[in-house]
């Protein structure tokens, strides 16, 4: 019988973790294949960081098993640390060291000799466009620069698997875009990437497969294509208007029986249909009822719809998190 020679990069079964009275993770299961860019998507507090901590040996699971490249890390959480690189959600580099010094120090932690760690540090500073700031102290770096150096430090020893925890949170749009490109390049070069994020578009754009985690449970794991499939042929029109729209639900439903209407907020109507929505009759209907239409926009069905549908997490919650954390995913 043929057997798969390469084990899963990460295999997690029935993972659970409790901190005092808080059940941080209660049922997490997934498998990441070698070379995959795997997204772990969920709102803040869903258990993403706790899961990463368990996978990287910074926390011990109460229940469940973890295998990294076939190595059982359940009982020995640090057994696979030579294979992994970790970029945490907050910087853990040394503010008093320079960028170059930080990279050389991180390389030394993996037993890399002096000449090699210097050349590797220079190579990564060039790659991440930080060569000009190599001799500046890390404490004086901007958020985007800090994040880039943290990623460089995470891959200094050329790990097989890279854990990226919220890599674009709190940084400006240009830096976020540059980071996403770097992540894609790393993945193309063969690094398996485990990415946690609460930016749905980011996960959709970058990842091969995604696991949704809500309240410490993985709800669904699949490819982006498979996840989006149910809404792929759906047509969504978002109408922005001035005037009372909520009262029109009944009338709209009777007049346009083929369309589904929702009212996400005051002055906004969301129209969903299996076929293209004709804008003219809808606008005329609204204006006849003293509702002034200011914008009608076709929305591309996205993973956000799927996420909301599967997890039950309200769109506004994810929206609020974008605002709280700076909205790096654009």
């Amino acid at each position: 019988m043929p057997t798969d020679p390469s084990p899963a990069a990460i295999q997690v079964q029935g993972l659970a973790k409790r901190f005092d009275r808080v059940q941080a993770v209660s049922a997490v299961d997934f498998e990441v294949r070698p070379g995959e860019l795997f997204g772990f998507l969920g709102p803040n507090g869903a258990g993403k960081t706790t899961t990463i901590n368990m996978l990287t040996g910074l926390a011990r699971p109460d229940v469940g098993t973890i295998h990294i490249s076939g190595i059982d890390c359940t009982k020995s959480p640090r057994a696979a640390q030579h294979l992994i690189g970790v970029v945490p959600d907050e910087s853990n580099l040394y503010p008093e060291l320079t960028g170059f010094g930080n990279l050389c120090f991180c390389a030394a932690l993996y037993g890399i000799n002096k000449a090699e760690r210097k050349s590797r540090a220079r190579e990564l500073l060039d790659t991440f466009d930080l060569a000009g700031a190599a001799d500046r102290k890390f404490g004086g770096y901007s958020k985007g620069m800090k994040r880039k150096l943290a990623i460089a430090a995470g891959i200094i020893h050329r790990p097989d698997i890279l854990f990226l925890d919220e890599p674009t949170t709190g940084i400006d749009v240009a830096s976020a875009r540059q980071l996403r490109q770097l992540v894609q390049v790393l993945n193309k070069n063969g690094t398996t990437i485990f990415l946690t994020t609460h930016y749905i578009e980011e996960a959709e754009r970058l990842c091969n497969r995604i696991a949704f985690i809500v309240s410490g449970r993985t709800i669904r794991t699949d490819t982006v294509d498979n996840l989006i499939q149910p809404v792929r042929d759906t047509h969504v029109l978002q109408v922005t208007c001035i005037g009372r729209t909520g009262d029109l639900a009944g009338d709209l439903g009777r007049t346009f029986p083929d369309l589904a209407f929702s009212f996400p907020e005051q002055g906004m109507i969301r129209v969903t249909s299996g076929s293209p929505v004709r804008v003219g009759p809808l606008v005329r209907f609204l204006e006849d009822r003293a509702v002034e239409v200011t914008e009608a926009r076709k929305i591309r069905p996205s993973l956000e719809e799927v996420f909301i549908d599967i997890t039950g997490v309200k769109a506004e919650i994810m929206g609020r998190e974008k605002e709280k954390t700076g909205g790096g995913s654009r």
């Binding site: 040996g57 910074l58 945490p88 503010p95 030394a108 932690l109 037993g111 000799n113």
Partner: protein
């Protein structure tokens, strides 16, 4: 992988980043001088009393230098999460923590050398038993450092580290026989003094510098070594239990 590359680089980084900074060097110089001056003022004695004062000043310099620095640096690194970076490295815990503590051990030894070098200029130290003094200074420094590690693991804030350190340090100074003999303590405190590592260190220093000691040197050295091993093992256990929970 070569774990000693990591060990050496952690050690050197800590020396450069924490221990060999000008404020710490001046601490290492001023602290023993201040204690020496205090004793002279208190006793009104002259240079002839240096051998009596020296064991106390050396021990206190080591104790305060190591516990203060280590408890603060580890707590600081834990707080700003850079300690996490070390925990993520494929290093054995033992090597990692030895690397983190080696800088403080060296700092403690250097602190002890400051009053010793001053004493060399001011008095005759020809009677000093160097074969006892050197291992004594080393073991006191190791035991104090590991006590600092034990404290660092027990607290989560930098200010707590200082407060908690004093909880151990001040009673120890007065109970360990540095400034008056253990036999002069009230009967109920005497057994307590033998539970303190510094009691054995003080006995060694008194013996090495003045030829007066209560216990055999080998017993003192052995008990200090047991304290070092015990404190290190308990600290590692606590790190695993509390920081990789």
């Amino acid at each position: 992988m070569n774990q000693w590359i990591a060990f050496w680089n952690i050690f050197v980084k800590d020396l450069k980043t924490y221990y060999l900074k000008p404020p710490n060097i001046s601490w290492g110089l001023i602290f023993p001088l201040a204690w020496t001056g205090m004793f002279f003022v208190k006793t009104g004695s002259g240079l002839s009393s240096i051998p009596e004062v020296l064991p106390g000043v050396m021990a206190v310099s080591i104790l305060f230098g190591t516990t203060s620095m280590l408890a603060v640096t580890i707590t600081f690194e834990k707080k700003n999460r850079s300690f996490e970076r070390l925990l993520l490295a494929p290093l054995s815990f033992e090597i990692l923590m030895l690397a983190k503590t080696s800088g403080a051990i060296l700092f403690g030894i250097l602190n002890a050398l400051v009053p010793l070098f001053l004493a060399v200029w001011l008095t005759d130290l020809s009677q000093v038993a160097w074969g006892v003094l050197v291992p004594a200074v080393f073991l006191i420094s190791v035991a104090s450092t590991f006590m600092g590690l034990f404290i660092a693991v027990a607290v989560s804030e930098v200010f707590e580290a200082q407060t908690f350190s004093n909880f151990f340090r001040f009673p120890m100074i007065f109970l360990c026989g540095l400034f008056f003999p253990v036999s002069a303590l009230p009967f109920f405190l005497e057994p307590v003094s033998y539970l303190l590592p510094l009691t054995y260190g003080a006995d060694l220093l008194h013996g090495a510098l003045r030829g007066e000691h209560t216990l055999p040197y080998l017993v003192d050295l052995a008990v200090l070594a047991v304290f070092c091993t015990g404190l290190f093992a308990v600290s590692l256990y606590n790190i695993r239990r509390r920081w990789i929970a």
